[in-house]
Amino acid sequence: MHRTGELFGQFKTLEQQKETATLGMWIFLVTEILFFGGLFLTYTINRHEFPSAFGVAGNMLDLNLGFANTIVLIASSFTMAMSVWSAETSRKKAIVVWLIATLVLGSVFLGIKVVEYKQKFDHHLVPGRNFDITYCSNSRNPCGLNAKDFENEQKEVREAIEAEGDYAKEQGFSYPGTMGMTAVNAHAQLYFSLYFGMTGLHALHMIVGAGLLLYLILEARKGRFDANYNTPVENIGLYWHFVDIVWIFLFPLLYLINRHLI
């Protein structure tokens, strides 16, 4: 392992070394944008294609948990920015504190995500054989919704089935009612494929980020980072902010479109 500010053999100066590492990180983030870009494109096309099924499916996400996670993640961006600042101003103790705060907030985010995934599993919203978009709105109220939410959910599902049924009728299919039901269930399943794909990939990036933070904390405790040498803090900070920004796009796309806030 290299010591503070050690110059690697292939470079001439420390400035060149830092510039190189930072440029490398930015290019890596560009590849990440393209990577998530494929998913965002798939999402956008299908959202446009199936607005009613995606609308009703999006409403089944837990807005409170999603919102809480957004706050947690923005806060973690702040603490990350503070640890970069502490490194640049040689506040060696503060770096560790802010990094630990970031790691804690990141873990809280992942914890909340686990709760959400568990909920989706209980509500039969994981794509596969047991997927059932009407599960929470069936007459037994198995998800334990309060009266108003339960009524809203029943109404939304009914409307979506009607909308897709109308489309089936327009296309001249027989049994438009059944077709509507089948279509909503299929398209909502596509929505949840995208939900798990996008948030899962995001969570994977968070887990990698947590590992990187752990490395930074161990190094920072040895006093490795100061105003002269802080490239790892800065670059992992860039990565962390990038992962946050992905969530800033995911949250409105997945949780907020078609949301009835009243």
């Binding site: 292939q10 870009g37 998913l39 096309i45 294609e49 399943q189």
Partner: protein, 561 residues
């Protein structure tokens, strides 16, 4: 330059210290961060995959000797052409020139001690190996029958072959490509020696810069696409499955968004090689330096907006098809700029037909045929007839084999003295280059005719009237195989017994020829300072050419003559 010449005899000797004898033992290779050693690790592994792909190609050609197929069942035939494509494209053509020659040469050409991230460079070789193991596992456990394009829903639902490990392998391998591209981009930006300005960069480096842009911007898209297809196959997610409202055509769009630019990942580095070889054996600055440099970037940029020409008959809006047809014509322009400039460089030059030059001249001819037949396929009306026929096969093999592989083998011959410090037997090498050229044309030219007559690709049998052309093609393939085996043999032989080359055997102008052959681990004794223009043979008395003028007045870098 110590220990390279003996004044008494004029014979060269190997330098006392170089990267090959700096350390010994298996660990010194497997844990090396020296870009030159990593290049040789890549050389061994891409050669391995070239032969894996070559064996499948051989079986295909033997099978097609008779109209009803000679060797295998139709199902096995599907697997053969799929595995041929996967091995050749993802594990040979894409890494070949960048990871072998680019890795070896870029730092030396720009006067650096190594790439910007030497450990990441080694990591990308290991990622390549892990990806390769997954794919070999797929080949060994039932094979793969989806075509190298992995179209859904065949790959995600219907195929009963080992698709999952292959998709995982290619997904992993993508990160090797991304990291190599990232390393090159950063290296070119931050590691250049004093005096090595952007417009003094060798055109080989410009070509690799453009290639790296494509690797960095395109590869993540194929990664996410294969990930989605894999999730669909493994967990029945519905991204591309019509039963859930997913769209198989979307897979094709995403797939070709990478896989068309990937064609330029394969050909651009070869163009870089040719741009180095031609001026060397013409003894003349390359014609239109800045146009060749800019056309590399132009190909990389325009190459990203032509992908849907692969889908003219799979169903897309007519207006979209017209736009993509037009753009596909446009992308031919920068390629043509290169061909014109190489040809103009030959004009009034003193041409010598050394082995690398034979490959370069072969490249120009074959690439021109391949490129022009590409325009046939970009034409909307004609494509309806030619699509999915042998015409397409012939077209892209003229680009991929006649272009990329010719460039790779030519480049290996050109820099072999630098890599190993030794020369290969020149006349044998010239014979091999000519055998390769004849074998190649005999293999693939008949396929243009087959395609024009309407013979579809990917079928394990064909009507009896096409037998003559198929037999010609198979005969050509056996000559082609000889053309590949010969260099394998004499290049390996030369590593031990070849004549000592000396630092600059051709001679030529690049910075890589100013250091020892083979170079030191650090490439140069001290950081070089560049005070000459690229490809200037006149103001370079150090090359020992007749009529050299003293340095000082700098010749214009580009556009003279």
């Amino acid at each position: 330059m110590d220990g390279t010449t003996t004044a008494a005899t004029g014979e060269f000797q190997l330098p006392r210290e170089h990267y090959l004898n700096a350390k010994y033992g298996i660990r010194s290779w497997l844990l090396t961060t020296d870009h030159k050693r990593i290049a040789l690790l890549y050389l061994a592994s891409v050669t391995f995959f070239f032969f894996v792909g070559g064996i499948f190609a051989t079986l295909i050609r033997i099978h097609l000797l008779t109209p009803n197929g000679l060797l295998v069942t139709p199902e096995t035939y599907n697997k053969l052409f799929t595995m041929h494509g996967v091995a050749m494209i993802f594990f040979f053509l894409i890494p070949s020139i960048p990871a072998v020659l680019g890795n070896f040469l870029i730092p030396i050409m720009i006067g650096a001690k190594d790439l910007a991230f030497p450990k990441i460079n080694l990591l990308s070789w290991y990622i390549y190996l892990v990806g390769g193991c997954f794919v070999l596992y797929s080949f060994g456990t039932g094979g793969l029958d989806t075509g190298w394009t992995f179209y859904t829903p065949l790959s995600s639902i219907y195929s009963n072959s080992a698709v999952t490990p292959a998709v995982i392998g290619i997904f992993i391998n993508g990160f090797s490509s991304i990291l190599t591209g990232l390393n090159f981009l950063v290296t070119v930006h931050t590691m250049r020696a004093p005096g090595m300005t952007w417009f003094r960069l060798p055109l080989f480096v410009w070509a690799h810069y453009a290639t790296s842009l494509i690797m960095v911007l395109g590869t993540p898209v194929i990664a996410i696409t294969l990930l989605l297809a894999g999730l669909e196959r493994m967990f029945h997610f519905g991204f591309f499955n019509p039963a859930y409202g997913g769209d198989p055509i979307l897979f094709q769009h995403l797939f070709w968004f990478y896989s068309h630019p990937a064609v330029y990942i394969m050909i651009l580095p070869a163009m870089g090689v040719i741009s180095e070889i031609i001026p060397t054996f013409v003894r003349k600055p390359i014609f239109g330096y800045s146009f060749i440099a800019a056309s590399s970037i132009g190909i990389a940029v325009i190459g990203f907006i032509v992908w849907a020409h692969h889908m003219f008959v799979t169903g897309e809006a007519t207006y979209a098809a017209i736009a993509f047809s037009f753009l596909s014509y446009i992308v031919a322009v920068p390629s043509a700029v290169k061909v014109f400039n190489w040809t103009a460089t030959l004009y009034k030059g003193s041409i010598s037909y050394d082995t690398p030059m034979l490959y370069a001249l072969g490249f120009i001819g074959l690439f021109t045929i391949g490129g022009l037949t590409g325009l046939f396929l970009a034409c909307l009306g004609l494509d309806i007839h030619l699509h999915d026929t042998y015409f397409v096969i012939a077209h892209f093999h003229y680009i991929m084999v006649g272009g990329a592989v010719m460039g790779y083998v030519g480049g290996l011959h050109f820099w072999w003295p630098k890599i190993t410090g030794r020369l290969y037997p020149e006349y044998l090498a010239r014979a091999a280059a000519i055998i390769l050229f004849i074998g190649f044309n005999l293999t693939f030219f008949p396929q243009f005719i087959l395609g024009g007559l309407g013979s579809p690709r990917r079928y394990s049998n064909y009507p009896p009237e096409f037998q003559v052309l198929n037999v010609m093609s198979t005969a050509g393939a056996s000559i082609l195989a000889l053309g590949y085996l010969l260099p394998m043999v004499y290049l390996t032989w030369s590593m031990r017994y070849g004549k000592i080359a000396g630092p600059n055997p051709w001679p030529t102008t690049g910075l890589e020829w100013k250091t020892n052959s083979p170079p030191l681990t650090e490439n140069f004794h001290e950081t070089p300072v560049v005070d000459w223009e690229p490809y200037d043979f006149v103001h370079r008395p150090d090359l020992g050419l007749k009529g050299a003028k003293p340095p000082g007045k700098l010749a214009p870098a580009h556009g003279d003559d």
